[in-house]
Amino acid sequence: MDASAAPTRQLVRMRGRSYVAFVFCPTVPIVGWLEEIDATLARSPGFFVGKPVVLDLSAVDLSQSAISHLVASLEQRNIRVLGIEGVDAAHVTTSMPPLLTGGRHCVLTQIEPQKAEAKPKPKSTSLLLENPVRSGQSVVFTDGDVTVLGSVGSGAEIVAGGSIHVYGALRGRAMAGVNGNSAARIYCQKIEAELLAIDGYYQTAEDISATLRNRPAQAWLDGEIMKITPLN
C-alpha cells in the first residue's frame, strides 16, 4: 500500500431538510411576556428543553441590544434560540442566532404523545371479575374495590382494600377495607356468606340474621359495629 498517495477529493454534498420548531412571538412589554414564559416553565419545568425555538420579532420593534438582551434572558431560562425571524438584517449581529426566512405554519402534533408518555399510567383502583369465584380461590386486591359479576362460592375468599360488590350469590368470605378503610362496604345480590369483614370487624354466618338469607344485602360499619341490612 502506498502511504504517500494524495487523498482523493471528497465532494461536499448538501441536502435540504426541514424541522419543526417552536416559534415564540414576543409582545410588548417584553418583561411581561417573559413573565408568561416563566409561568409556563413553573407549570412544566423542562417543557422547552431540547426543543428548537425560533424567535419571531415581527410584532415588536426592538433595537440590536434589546434583541441580544432578550436572547440572553431566554438562555438564562435554559431556552436556546435556534434562529430569529421577522427582523431587519441590520439588527442581527454575528453573535446572535442566524436570521431565518420562509418558515411555514404546521401543527405541533408530536408534542401530545410525548406529554402522555411522560405521565405514569394511573394505577387501577378497581378489579372486575367476570367469572364466578370458585371454592378455594382467593382474590386479593388491596388497591381498591372488587366487583364480581358471578357468584362467590362457598370456601372462596375476596380480600379488598375498598368495597366488595357481588352481583351473584356471596357464599364465601368477603373482607373489605383491609387497609383500615372503615368506610368500605360489602354489597351482594344474595347473602349466604360464611364470613363478612370490614376493617377487621367481622361477622360469621351464624351472626347473620336468618331473615336476610338469600336476599340482596349490604354490610357496613357503624362505629365499631358491623351492620347488615337488606338492599331495597
Partner: protein, 271 residues
C-alpha cells in the same frame, strides 16, 4: 379429532369410576373408539368395574417409566371391541406420575382413539391435577349434597386455572353429571335440588343419574351399567348423557321413582 375428557369431582365416593366406565361403554356402544385411563394410582378400581382385573399385566406407571409399551398395557374389553382400558398401578403411588410422562401418553392415545376418558382420583393433589392437565372437556360428577357441590366448585376453579388449555387462554368445556339422585328424598327437601346445584356451579347439566341398585349390581359383576342392563333407568340416563356429549340435543329427564302398588300401600320402609 380425538377428545380428552376428564371425569373428576374433588370428593371421593361420588361415582367417578362408575361413571367413567358407564360413559366409556356407552360411547363404545355408539360406535366410538374409546380408551378409559385409570389415574387413581395406588387405589385402582376401574379394572374391577370393567371386569378386566384378571388381565392386567402392565399399567400406566410402567408406560410412564418406559418399562412397557403403550400397546402392551392397553386391555381390550371382551364385550365391546371399541372399548379399551389403560389400568393404574396398585403398588405405586401418585408420585410415580410425571407431567411429561402423562403428556406423551395422552399424545400417543390421541392418535389411536376418538375418546380418551381419564378417571381422576379424588382430591386436588398430583393425581387429580395430572388427570385433568391435558383435558379438552370435563365431566364433574356431583352428588346432591353440599359437601360434594362445594368440592366440585373447587375442582371447576382448578379446571379453569391448572389445565394446559386454561394456561393457553382457552376454556375446558365443563359439564356437571349429577349422580345418586333420589327424587323422593329431593321432593322431601332432604337433598339439594337440581336447580340449587346448577345455580351454585353455573355450568351446563350433562345428565341426572338416579340412585339405583342396578348401579351397585353392575359394579359387583364387573360390568358397566350401560352394558349390564341397558334398559335400566341409570343406564338410560348415562346413554342420554353420552349423546349430549356427542353434540345431540336430548331432552333432560328428571328421574322419578316408580313405586309399586305394594310400596305405596305400605308407605316407605325405613331406608
Amino acid at each position: 379429532m380425538a377428545k380428552v375428557l376428564v371425569v373428576t369431582s374433588g370428593k371421593g365416593g361420588v361415582g367417578k369410576t362408575t361413571s367413567t366406565a358407564a360413559l366409556g361403554a356407552a360411547l363404545a356402544q355408539l360406535g366410538e373408539k374409546v380408551v378409559v385411563v385409570d389415574f387413581d394410582v395406588g387405589l385402582r378400581n376401574l379394572d374391577l368395574v370393567l371386569g378386566a382385573e384378571r388381565r392386567v399385566v402392565f399399567d400406566l406407571i410402567n408406560v410412564v417409566q418406559g418399562v412397557a409399551k403403550l400397546s402392551q398395557a392397553l386391555i381390550r374389553d371382551k364385550r365391546l371391541e371399541n372399548l379399551w382400558l389403560l389400568p393404574a398401578s396398585q403398588t405405586r403411588d401418585k408420585d410415580a406420575l410425571t407431567e411429561e410422562g402423562v403428556r406423551s401418553i395422552i399424545a400417543d392415545l390421541r392418535t389411536k382413539f376418538d375418546w380418551i376418558l381419564c378417571d381422576s382420583p379424588a382430591g386436588i393433589e398430583r393425581g387429580a391435577t395430572l388427570a385433568m392437565r391435558y383435558a379438552d372437556e370435563a365431566v364433574i360428577v356431583t352428588n346432591p349434597e353440599v359437601s360434594s357441590v362445594r368440592d366440585s366448585d373447587r375442582i371447576i376453579g382448578m379446571l379453569d386455572s391448572k389445565t394446559v388449555k386454561a394456561e393457553k387462554g382457552e376454556r375446558v368445556e365443563k359439564h356437571v353429571l349429577i349422580t345418586r339422585y333420589d327424587s323422593a328424598r329431593a321432593a322431601r327437601g332432604e337433598m339439594l335440588s337440581i336447580e340449587d346445584i346448577l345455580e351454585i356451579l353455573a355450568i351446563p347439566l350433562l345428565g341426572i343419574i338416579p340412585e339405583s341398585q342396578d348401579v351397585l349390581r353392575a359394579s359387583n359383576v364387573g360390568s358397566p351399567v350401560t352394558l349390564n342392563n341397558a334398559a335400566s333407568a341409570p343406564a338410560r340416563a348415562y346413554i342420554d348423557a353420552v349423546r349430549r356429549l356427542m353434540g345431540e340435543t336430548v331432552t333432560m329427564m328428571v328421574p322419578v321413582e316408580r313405586k309399586g302398588l305394594m310400596n305405596r300401600l305400605l308407605g316407605r320402609r325405613a331406608a
